[in-house]
């Protein structure tokens, strides 16, 4: 396995020795839609901690609140109660402008579909968050990520010229290049065939193992969740179980 000593912003991180840190911490989250009898409560005093530099899967049946949890953790939606801390930033109470900035600088996204801006090339899509924040771009790191993801030849293609798997790789590269505190992946394999889905899961693993990233993946695919280090199970707006996966070297099962 490749080992990289990387400069992580102003911090130097050794991924194998830094596993005890907490990347995202949620406490007593409450979220309610609607009022009265029609009220739906996707989150009922839910608390959880996501360890840094680990691959965490969030699973649960439809209506268990996993999508809402992700919206709240990623600063896309505000909870009605409780608090969310990403890295060292408390999201609760931030206004839209500051939340946007947190998303841009500390959070990466990989969605099921509509991952890329169709009118931009792969490279422009990858650099989009830093351009939006007018931040300088680490060219060397971009090249490193592109090479690792096999995108070097494809950087100047537009999304419609790429296969579904390649598009997802561009999305992964975009999430990696801005060096966020945490990457959220929303059903990243949902729209892909099995081979491409497996490839994306490999890339998410690599993001954790080789680039020391923290990845949170929402999925209802047990097979996908099996690639994670930990799996958090939700039901009815509450955390019901946490499974630690067996050590990576026993994967894939024979």
């Amino acid at each position: 396995m490749l080992r990289c000593g990387l400069t992580w912003g102003d911090r130097t991180v050794d991924p194998m020795t830094h596993t005890s840190a907490v990347a995202v911490k949620a406490t007593d989250l409450i979220k309610t839609y609607g009022t009265g009898d029609a009220a739906v409560r996707p989150l009922k005093r839910l608390s959880l901690e996501i360890p840094a530099a680990r691959f965490t899967a969030v699973m649960g049946p439809s209506g268990s609140g996993k999508s809402t949890l992700m919206h709240v953790l990623a600063g896309l939606d505000a909870p009605d109660g409780g608090s969310v801390i990403v890295g060292d930033v408390e999201l609760t109470g931030l206004d839209d402008r500051r939340l946007t900035r947190v998303r841009r600088e500390r959070i990466g996204f990989i969605f099921q579909a509509y991952n890329l801006v169709p009118s931009m090339t792969a490279q422009e899509n990858i650099l989009l968050p830093s351009r939006l924040g007018r931040a300088s771009v680490d060219r060397a790191f971009l090249e490193l990520v592109a090479e690792r993801l096999g995108l070097t030849e494809r950087l100047h293609h537009r999304p419609f010229e790429l296969s579904g798997g390649q598009q997802q790789r561009v999305a992964v590269a975009r999430a990696l290049v801005s060096r966020p505190d945490v990457i959220f992946a929303d059903e990243p394999t949902g729209n892909l065939d099995q081979a491409a889905g497996a490839e994306v899961l490999d890339l998410l693993r690599a993001a954790v193992d080789e680039f020391g990233q923290t990845v949170i993946m929402v999925t209802h695919d047990a097979g996908a969740a099996a690639r994670a280090d930990r799996t958090v199970l939700l039901a009815d707006g509450r955390l019901v179980d946490t499974l630690e996966a067996p050590p990576p070297r026993s994967w894939p099962p024979r």
């Binding site: 439809s62 998303r103 969605f111 801006v117």
Partner: protein
């Protein structure tokens, strides 16, 4: 550059192009108007300068018309002043004339001796039977040097002494179109009016402003003593006064040009708002993604605004160039065809600045509302990629309230404008009211479409109209936007059509009042000849009897008594109440002329009719200007024994007869009945020339409106593109659930037809109202009643065009840009399985 802006610009494509075209057309219109008015003003200025040239002072003596001796005497006295070299009295006169073999109207003046003129041929008129004309005049009548011009005495109709053309003057002249010598002016059959005295100072003082002022004071003294109605101006003051006159004309032209420009810009603004609405809607998922990965709401807002501003700048720049090109072309055409001295069109700073600022500001302002919507995009939308769009909100109360208030105010102002005869108030009110209707449409249109859909579902029992009705509740915004685009076009065109028809009808009624019969000739033998003419649709012989008019002093003149029957009136006349009651008669205008008129011009006269062997009959006579001279009309009910052979022939012309056709019939009448037989085609001529003028005005107005209609069509195309974009997923779901391909197609076309019907109902109603109000506000106060005329045939054509535009955008879009057809895109490009993969249940509860 803002990365969001860059992405937006790349994904805008043909829709941005369409919006740019809309603003370019509107700006081009405004710029063309400004440049043409500028060139026109410069043309007139240079003419004013040219004609004032040569004269140091001008004494205005047209106020002395009743006292023909004084101007001549004043000219002599001025001539005797020390510093004056020459003082020439300029007179002018007008009369009908035969010009180069054609009937026309001749206005002549004395040619100022010191006016620098350029002869393209020949020389100035010197002898009493010589005349010099301008080239324009010569062209109009096909005159060349050596041709004859014969004026008539307007009172008697006798031909005067002919003039021979001896020279042609280049260019048009302010002073007139034909010039004679003072001796020639004395020979003119109509009395000449004094116009002005042109004063030229003695050699060394010519052109000296100081000397001009001194002589001006001396002339002022003379005027005070002898002719207080006169006034004296120096060279400078003349040019200034002319330019002031001219400014009034320019102001009117500017007002007309900018009025239509304002309509075009207003329509373009609405179209651009729609276009950006389409763009923002089609980019919703991309905007949500941008929000999720870190774009602020402000960045999205600014990107959309910047896109609008950029589009405005580019569109306006193209519009300025287009406008300059159009004005240049028009100017060149004017020089070639009409005004040889028309000043070359120059691109003025004012036109460029007005064009650029107007286009950019309007586009920027029009993109404001869509920009706010872009900023409100929720990043969460990126996380539910293919959900069926949630239902749009209910009726927006604020928007509807503002719309109703603006609508009531604006339409109220239009009614006030119609009653007070104030066109400007009308235009402002119409724009405001229409804006109000567009805002309130969000509350009205979906409800009406839904009602119509449910009604249709009940009648046909089909499922498709029911789906249309449900869609109307699901996506009222989209429905309203598309309908609005149609509404704009329909309202514009219906307004113009109804306005023209109403104006035509009002004038027709006024004409029918004055001229109930188109033409009449005092001969019973012309029936076959005139019936052979295409322009004549009917003729009738009115029995009559030759008579003599005896005035109180015993003088006798030939006359004719005819008896009109109710059948004749029904067949020929344009007004039913023409027939005189027993004891009444109609008298031709000739009885009111001459030494002893029967009564004051136009008033009721008492005349006595004496037939051989009958008791004298006293009747009340009304004047009827359309009768041949010497005619008395009584009703056939009076029971007089009159002979067909001694009667008159009355004619009715076709409504589309032209002036030339009427003149041709007039020629036939002269040939068949003889030149001495009294005849009149005045009514037909008046009708033909008025309908010619209305047709021309309508044509000009439609050309002026064309810019706005083009812009509105672009808007329809854009909003249909929006509807197709939003439809893809919805159509896929319906297909997946079992609706046939034909069913989806019927769904789209049923909705399109219902939208067109609503646009036609609202736009048609508004157009009829605006058309009537427009004519009412334009006519001078109480000159005539304005009767609304609705041309159903033409409105039917407009309805067909609107339905076609709404339901067959492929043809329209292909004709405009050749892009993919919106209607076909939805049913064909949606194989159910492929689309289903990205369809998820809206809420995972």
């Amino acid at each position: 550059m803002n990365p969001v802006l860059r992405a937006n610009l790349r994904s805008g494509g043909t829709r941005l192009f369409a919006a740019g075209a809309a603003i370019a057309v509107a700006v081009a219109f405004v710029v063309t108007s400004l440049l043409m008015v500028d060139a026109f003003s410069r043309t007139m200025e240079s003419q004013a300068e040219a004609e004032a040239a040569g004269a140091d002072l001008m004494v205005e003596v047209s106020g002395l018309v009743d006292d023909p001796q004084t101007p001549a005497a004043l000219a002599d006295q001025i001539q005797d002043l020390d510093d004056v070299g020459d003082a020439q009295l300029i007179r002018s006169a007008f009369a009908p004339a035969e010009i180069g073999g054609r009937d026309g109207f001749l206005g002549v003046s004395e040619l100022p001796e010191h006016l620098p003129v350029e002869f393209t041929e020949g020389r100035a008129a010197e002898a009493a039977d010589e005349i010099t004309v301008t080239e324009q005049f010569a062209d109009a009548y096909g005159l060349t040097v050596g041709d004859a011009v014969t004026p008539e005495d307007p009172a008697t109709g006798d031909a005067g002494d002919p003039y021979t053309v001896v020279g042609l003057i280049s260019g048009i002249q302010r002073a007139g179109s034909a010039f004679v010598s003072p001796a020639g002016m004395d020979a003119f059959p109509e009395e000449a009016f004094p116009e002005s005295i042109r004063v030229v100072l003695a050699e060394s003082l010519h052109g000296d402003a100081g000397a001009q002022r001194i002589v001006q004071e001396q002339i002022q003294d003379l005027i005070e003593q002898h002719a207080p109605e006169a006034s004296v101006l120096t060279h400078e003051e003349i040019v200034e006064a002319w330019l002031e006159d001219l400014a009034g004309t320019s102001d009117i032209l500017v007002t007309i040009g900018l009025g239509f420009g304002a309509i075009a810009v207003f329509v373009a603004g609405l179209v651009i708002t729609n276009t950006f609405g389409v763009l923002v809607a089609s980019r919703m998922s991309t905007l949500a993604l941008l929000r999720a990965v870190g774009a602020t709401a402000r960045q999205l807002k600014q990107a959309t605004l910047a896109e609008g501003a950029l589009l405005g700048v580019v569109g306006s720049a193209v519009g300025v160039l287009l406008g300059f090109g159009a004005a240049y072309g028009l100017g060149t055409a004017a020089r070639g065809l009409w005004l040889e001295d028309f000043a070359p069109v120059r691109l003025t700073v004012v036109a460029v600045v007005v064009g650029l600022v107007l286009g950019t500001v309007v586009t920027g302002a029009a993109s404001l509302f869509p920009a706010l919507r872009a900023g409100r995009t929720s990043p969460m939308q990126a996380l539910r990629p293919a959900d069926v769009a949630p239902a749009e909100g209910g009726v927006p109360r604020v928007r509807t309230t503002i719309g109703v208030v603006l609508g009531v105010l604006g339409l109220g102002a239009v009614v006030a404008a119609a009653l007070l005869h104030s066109p400007l108030l009308g235009v402002a009110g119409a724009m405001l009211g229409f804006l109000g209707v567009l805002l309130a449409a969000r509350a009205i249109v979906p409800a009406v479409v839904r009602g119509l859909g449910l009604l249709l579902a009940r009648i046909t029992g089909g499922e498709v109209p029911r789906l249309v009705a449900q869609n109307a509740r699901q996506t009222p915004g989209r429905l309203t936007t598309t309908t609005s685009a149609l509404l704009i076009g329909v309202t514009l065109v219906v307004t113009m059509t109804v306005g023209a028809a109403t104006a035509q009808r009002s004038l027709d009624e006024e004409q029918a009042d004055r001229y109930p019969v188109d033409a009449a000739v005092a001969s019973a033998d012309v029936g076959a000849a005139v019936d052979a003419e295409d322009a004549v649709t009917g003729s009738a012989t009115v029995p009559g009897e030759p008579a003599e008019e005896t005035t109180e002093d015993g003088a006798q003149a030939p006359a004719q008594v005819v008896a009109a029957s109710a059948e004749t009136v029904a067949e020929i006349a344009r007004r039913d109440d023409l027939l005189p009651e027993p004891g009444q008669a109609l008298l031709s205008a000739s009885f009111y002329e001459g030494e002893q008129p029967v009564a004051q011009w136009g008033e009721t006269a008492t005349v006595t009719l004496k037939a051989a062997g009958e008791e004298p009959l006293q009747v009340q006579g009304e004047m009827a200007g359309w009768l041949p001279p010497g005619t008395v009309v009584v009703s056939s009910a009076a029971g007089w024994d009159l002979q067909e052979a001694e009667g008159q022939t009355w004619m009715r012309f076709s409504d589309t007869a032209t002036v030339d056709e009427v003149m041709q019939v007039s020629g036939t009448l002269t040939d068949v009945a003889g030149a001495e037989t009294p005849a009149t085609v005045e009514a037909a001529l008046s009708r033909a020339s008025i309908s010619g003028v209305i047709d021309t005005v309508l044509l000009v107005v439609l050309i002026l409106l064309a810019a706005s209609v083009v812009v509105a069509v672009i808007g329809v195309s854009n909003t249909l593109a929006l509807s197709v974009f939003e439809r893809r997923r919805e159509a896929a779901l319906l297909r997946a659930l079992g609706l046939s391909r034909g069913g989806v197609r019927r769904l789209v076309s049923t909705e399109a037809v219902l939208m067109a019907v609503v646009a036609l109902l609202i736009g048609g109603g508004l157009g009829v109202f605006f058309g009537w109000a427009g004519v009412s506000s334009l006519v001078a106060e109480d000159v005539m009643g304005v009767a609304l005329a609705v041309p159903w045939g033409r409105l039917g054509l407009i309805a067909a065009a609107a339905l076609a535009a709404a339901s067959s955008p492929p043809a329209l879009r292909l004709a405009l840009w050749g892009g993919p057809s919106p209607r076909r895109a939805s049913p064909r490009s949606s194989p159910p399985l492929l689309r289903l993969r990205c369809l998820r249940v809206p809420f995972q509860v």
